[in-house]
Symmetry: C4
Subunit: 283 residues, 4 copies
């Protein structure tokens, strides 16, 4: 189904730009999804800054992180992060690696990020800390070797995200929208946690609250609302990915935004198999 | 008076977008007003991100937070916050629930927000702290049950705002403009309080200063000036709510801004019954 | 010379908008200049948010802060700040009162702002602290009575600025450009001082360095460069004051910016009587 | 080769605007490159705010910081910083002096900036601290005398950057792109280091990690990617330098961006003599 895959490529480009627009990604960082019909492959951009990625930049990789078609363009050196996690976590459908300013102080001080507000529960009760030095000694801190990727995946374990010493974070999701929400809310959580610490004692959510709130956060009506919101903000900033050339009718902002939302909905159904409830339950 | 109510709907949409533009609301949070002629009802948007709310999104609810007309759209789950406060506080004409980044550190550290500058007195001398856990144990931290809403309203008591543990704040006003001012100035106050604490000892206003300054802050000439300012900033950001289709002459920015101000003035007179003094007393 | 005064009115409007654009002023705060040919009067806007002030808003006041012409519009309540300082300090040609976020933590913690970098020397070696409570007890913290204005002017003494408890700051200059530079650099100084304190011990400039650096900062080639820079930023943000209706040829951005600079230059020569040195000495 | 030099002039203007757009430069600060074919000269703008510099503003200077052609415009007073470093460090091809807000707290507290994340390794293991007071006593803190420039160059030694007490920083690079990357990443590093300190103990990179990561950061595929990213951001902000009048076809944003990138590539090959590797190694 070639048309369907082009929708997925568009969604991955959109998620990259959305996370760049929200300050999670900058010149670096990348977002992938597992191939929607072949769980042994994933979709990731060629090496580009997230803010400029287009659907056509999204390539297919095996879970060994080898490109399915011999590339004519540069590839991300750290793509083993994606491949090794998709190998270790069959239920993970989307992965993001980033160096967001909000998490860096935690990656440097080695202080755990803990859930401090209801949306921050999206990150889960525990965000493990992976110290590349423990196993690999002095490196340039990039995760480029398969054994580094596997070690990182082991540290991630069953969790939603993992911090990487002096480097950044890697976040996973059961679909692209959960991934984007979790990445953004984890950054907000980190900022609030740091400031709360400056004020006094940090009160974290209980295990029960974290479980209940994170269940809520993953409901389609919540992730759909935030997806619409972040798409709108991206569109206002003039940052939506270009549509395919044939769809020239979608060139005006309003039309492009409508197209982005429509595509989002379509893609979501395919990826997560869910169906959004739309009445009386959203926040 | 159907035309008058459409003005009120426009004002609620405007307040939502204004507070989003000033960083109080984001994908979440909501603003309501009590129905201008039926104190047993309130006006609140369907479930949408505040930045995109339009006049047509504003629906009527009874004080039990039931929609007056059976809805065909999603509703906010937390609307009991509004209904329960309108029940408990007859003089309250407007309510805002938000998760502003400025207040979150206080909601997490459990540190009281106290008035530290003259405009911050808008929040009042005491902002009580409601810990949902005390009465309801582990929840997802949303306020969705009537008994949760009533408990929150009890904690609010006669005050202008209440902090909610690991969640956000709820603010009330005697009219929409006081609500918006109080919400924004309380956020500024929180930011200054945190930074002052990093510098040294925080000097708070005395009870007398708080009373005198908050009286001043509620004067129409002050709330009118800030309302014009925040409307202007929203307009510059391209964020004013769309006018009704018939008013097509109001499509240019200047005309739209004029319309927004005019409506604001009209609405204010109706809501607060006041009359702005315009000479020699504004700051 | 009616034409000349309209240039001055334009400059005051421009300075208000510039300081709003740089985050010193918001919905509140105001900038005045002493009347260029009558030292017994000053020029100040009617009560408006600084970002929207136009040349036509600028009115004349006596040093008792009475309007020269009976006003048909609202006036700032705190204009005695300006009048009392012009009375006490004959060499002061421009005054700004503001609540900039950068200085508020110092006004609340009662910690002195001290010069910590070469441009911060613009604020002078000492910024005194005026506590309104000492002399007037509980007030709404506004400075509205002549005796309050005189008390503030006494606290200012011979210095370039004064902090006001839980309220803000008042800054003076020997001309409008010095005032604007001093206001902005004092805010930057305050931000750096707070962050330096979080890092370790704050090293201040010596008295000699402060004197030498502040002399440098007041040179026309420095204040002209920053004036051009802040004008450019204001223009980029679409915030220049409108030109008089007759000058319709100046409607395009480039032309408007040129006009703003030209006017600035003209005005400067008149106000300060100086002549900019343009060769080999700017930084 | 006159045409080639005009390309270099354009690159210097572009770098100035890029660093202004990323918050490293403001009304002050300057970027130079060594003359591409005459190592006894360097190229630096006339005295202007970096955000408005154009190719035609870039002038030639000898390493004694004397203009090659008698100037008709104002020059930067601190140009000895550039000349003295080019004299002392033959391999240095580009120099930036700035007062970025991110580094100022370190210049004031006298706390060393140390590499705390992989990209921050661009600053090198050691950033020395130069205290102008030690050798020159009370000054206005500007570096204007040749002996001050030489003292600063001695303090810089073989390192990539030097902090200047209560003033700012000076950064060097083996080409313009390395300089820009190092300047920006050093600022990010400083911000993360300050926040990590507020959280707990700051873990720095080891000497080995710093060496490995800084080698990586200087690879053309990394500096090209960031250069494209920062150019894109500058273009979005409407800040690209104007093209020469003859190239009127390059007036649309897309064309201008293409021109900026093309020029960048051309220039890079000339300056660094390198050739970008484009396949399979970028991050």
């Amino acid at each position: 189904m070639p048309d369907n895959l082009s929708d997925h490529r568009y969604q991955v480009a959109l998620a990259n730009r959305m996370l760049a627009n929200e300050g999670v990604l900058d010149a670096f960082g990348h977002v992938s999804i597992r191939h929607p019909t072949d769980p042994g492959r994933y979709l990731l951009s060629r090496s580009r800054s997230p803010a400029v990625i287009e659907a056509d930049d999204i390539l297919e990789f095996t879970l060994d992180s080898a490109p399915v078609v011999a590339p004519t363009v540069a590839l991300y050196a750290e793509r083993v992060i994606h491949g090794c996690i998709y190998q270790a976590r069959p239920e993970v459908m989307a992965v993001c690696h980033h160096h967001a300013p909000a998490v860096m102080p935690f990656c440097i001080a080695g202080v755990p990020i803990v859930p401090v507000f209801h949306l921050g529960a999206a990150g889960g009760e525990t965000v493990p800390f992976w110290n590349q030095r423990d196993e690999f000694g002095d490196t340039n801190l990039l995760v480029v070797k398969p054994e580094e990727g596997r070690s990182l995946a082991r540290a991630l374990g069953p969790h939603g995200a993992v911090l990487m010493n002096n480097h950044g974070a890697t976040v996973v999701g059961r679909d692209l929208r959960e991934l984007v929400s979790r990445s953004i809310f984890m950054c907000q959580n980190a900022e609030y946690q740091l400031k709360a610490k400056l004020l006094g004692d940090v009160a974290t959510l209980t295990a029960g609250e974290t479980r209940l709130a994170s269940t809520l956060n993953a409901l389609p009506n919540v992730t759909n609302r935030t997806w619409e919101y972040w798409t709108l903000r991206l569109d206002k900033a003039g940052g939506l990915p270009p549509q395919a050339a044939a769809k020239s009718s979608a060139s005006k902002p309003k039309a492009r935004l409508r197209a982005a939302s429509a595509k989002s909905g379509a893609s979501r159904k395919t990826v997560a198999g869910g169906k959004s409830r739309k009445k009386g339950k959203a926040r």
